[in-house]
Symmetry: C2
Subunit: 467 residues, 2 copies
């Protein structure tokens, strides 16, 4: 029996692999494809019987479409329904397109409500209609209601299978409700308690039910300080609340404070993960979500918009340089330092904007007076800027034996760095004030702005001294 | 009773605020400081009695040190122990420095083992010794053992309070174990089941215990396919596993497969969050962890190292420009396009490196042949690069009526963009091969490399045509 368990541990040789976990690598995938090509159903079923749905999904994600489809069709309905949830979005869409509406209905029927909604809302309208018709009237009504919530709200995340008990009942009644709910869902951690109006009064966790006698009144063991969330609350707010208050589950209530669902932490883990990826994509200048499996055109499409913004900004920079061409021609060595002026401005801008954007996201920055924040940024840029300006003065003066130019370029560097830092910290605050997502300022936008601005400052200095 | 509950919902006027949650803003903080200054203990205790420890921590985080310390001293020991966990690291360190070792011991005594370890390991050695001496011998021995694990391993995350039952026992015995454990910890979701050698056989969740009769043998309701993790597994691997397999808790085992602890999802939420912040910091060129509350010198210190790396790289770029100064002087308009060459190379490099780095982190990239990945990157850069090169040819030809130069600069842009994309996707793969964290390649490093390389390509083209 113990051999059935999967223990993940560090293999001395390959730290990132798991000793006893299925090793899903290119070789394994090739073996699977061979079995698919020879239609060795029996062997495939044998291999996949022991795998976790998340692992099966990983295999299908990385097989050619034909192989993934063949394999998925072989899975028993309970496994298929677990597996489909774990597939990457693109792979799932392609796969679902080729399934019969009956097979989709069977899968949806197996799923818990929150997962069923995710699958049905990805379907084409006519297929979705067919699938809904093949479900029981209650199931289909429930799904239609859940689909009315924004995908990114608490209502879009919650499951509707939860035990519930009235506050005037006993432990025994609560256990009965757990028993009824257990037919529909695996994951039960607490019972929601409602008052005579059906409004949430609090929760009772399973541990309390287990440790109290059946005739103990619910009101005696009620936790009445439980946090709940409104059904329309944004999923990121839900994630932050659950993380802040260390909650594994949170009840979801409607406008009359009546429980309508429950969110568990595994849903929130995905939200936190997606959020992190979104941040990274925004910072890297990717506009659409790009997956490792994306096609060449998909990649180009996701990357082009910000490249175009950058392009436009640097044409502006070209115009700045052109309008100062007299100074540049006169002091040709000034061109050698265009890169350093641009790069240091860009780096300072990104550093300060990303701190401010994160502070706005976590709410920390709300406690700091804008003036204090900007002063800190300004002073820290002054310190770093002075150090690098001195270094640059030394290098340029030594290199070209031209102290006047050394003074110009190093002073310009100092001003450009402090200016870029202030721009980097101010722009997100302004965007936020006007209701624009400040994260836009962590990407190419702030770099490009600082490029044109930095060059203008540098060349204005140059012109003042030399012309 | 229902009024005691905190429901978070969207306020129409202020979407990011919660209607019934305590609104912790600057005004609230000012009021608190006034109460601190007038030493109004009674009023303060009244205010904080109703707040969640996470909210109290948020207040203390944002008060001046003197106020935070005064407030913390007023908290009853149970609240203080919950609050201290939620403080930001810098604030906690300052606060703990001024607490008596007796007060620290009392706090540590209240905490669950995993949290107690976090606090004790932050103490100075001599204070930690004093604190450990004031605990019971068992508690202190347990803490010392837990402290031996790497903070970032499963052992460093796990709590050691969990119910355990032998596989030959019954539901009743398991419930007894839950009852015993409940004296030490709030959070119990499952009972670990061990065989005659003390090795983990599986788990039984509380729901099963609740729904089966006391005399049912454990082996009949055992889930023997539960995933467990080795005590030395890195915390990020633990987080990825728990997310992948949608687990709220995971048992931790030693080398003989004996359970030594349990990790719950709230621990992992912090890991996922910290990881996301780390990524963002690396991408923004911040070397130390920078908090909103950091001092001016702290800010400068965290940002300076990457600024220095950027500085060195751009001095290299200056040398490249200098060595091509003959061409630049001859075709002065070439200088106007230095920014666009640099910026587009930088943007392409960041875009492709961040996708590769993420793919390496999630393991997805392991399934793609390097050649396939690079071909995709190359082709997508060719598409975007051609589009922008045509645009640039149009602009420069129209602007300067110089078709030859238009051809040079637009061809250079195309080559620089494809080259930067290849560099951006190759460097992380190479770093990874040599065991260096590839995430280093998403920050200023890749931009700086591409700046010097891009300018070299541009000027080499120019020289070939004009000299």
């Amino acid at each position: 029996m113990a051999e059935d368990r999967q223990t993940y541990e560090i293999d001395e040789a390959q730290e990132s692999q798991y000793a006893r976990a299925p090793l899903i690598d290119q070789e394994f995938l090739n073996d699977i494809m061979e079995l698919v090509d020879t239609e060795s159903q029996h062997a495939l079923v044998n291999i996949f019987t022991d795998l976790h749905p998340a692992d099966i999904a990983q295999v299908i994600n990385n097989l050619p479409h034909r192989g993934g489809k063949y394999l998925f069709e072989l899975l028993p309905i309970e496994v298929a329904s677990e597996t489909i949830l774990e597939l990457s979005e693109g792979v799932r869409e392609n796969l679902v397109d080729e399934l019969s509406s009956q097979r989709i209905s069977d899968i949806v029927d197996e799923l818990e409500s929150d997962d069923a909604v995710d699958i049905v809302s990805e379907l084409d309208d006519d297929v979705a209609q067919q699938v809904l018709r093949q479900l029981s009237p209650e199931d289909s009504a429930e799904l239609i209601e859940l689909m009315s919530y924004d995908e990114e709200s608490a209502g879009g995340l919650m499951g509707t299978e939860f035990p519930i008990v009235s506050i005037d009942k006993t432990v025994e009644d609560a256990i009965r409700s757990v028993r009824d709910t257990a037919e529909d869902t695996e994951d039960i951690y607490e019972v929601l308690v409602v008052d005579e109006n059906g409004a949430l009064s609090g929760i009772v966790d399973l541990k309390s039910l287990l440790l109290h006698r059946p005739d103990v009144p619910i009101k005696d063991i009620l936790e009445d300080d439980a946090v709940s969330v409104d059904v329309y609350l944004d999923q990121e707010e839900v994630a932050h609340l659950m993380r802040k208050y260390d909650m594994l589950t949170v009840p979801v209530v409607d406008g009359l404070n009546r429980p309508v669902g429950i969110i568990t932490f595994d849903d929130i883990a995905d939200v936190l993960h997606d959020e992190a990826i979104e941040d990274m994509e925004r910072m890297s200048g990717l506009s659409d979500h790009e997956e490792v499996q994306s096609t060449v055109f998909g990649i180009a499409k996701s990357r082009f918009p910000w490249l175009l913004v950058g392009f436009a900004g640097e044409i502006l920079a070209a115009i700045v340089l052109w309008s100062f061409s007299a100074s540049i021609e006169r002091v040709i060595i000034s061109t050698f330092f265009i890169p350093i002026i641009m790069a240091m401005g860009g780096n300072c801008g990104i550093q300060s904007s990303s701190i401010v954007v994160r502070g706005l996201a976590t709410g920390e920055i709300a406690f700091t007076k804008t003036f204090v924040r900007l002063s800190k940024e300004f002073l820290s840029a002054l310190i770093s800027g002075t150090a690098l300006a001195l270094l640059l003065f030394g290098i340029s003066a030594f290199w070209f034996q031209d102290y006047q130019f050394g003074l110009v370029v190093s002073l310009a560097l100092l001003v450009v760095m402090t200016n870029a830092t202030l721009v980097g910290s101010t722009v997100p605050l302004i965007l936020n004030k006007f209701g624009v997502d400040p994260a836009i300022a962590t990407g190419p936008f702030i770099t490009t702005t600082n490029d044109a601005l930095g060059l203008f400052i540098y060349l204005a200095f140059l012109t003042l001294i030399y012309l």
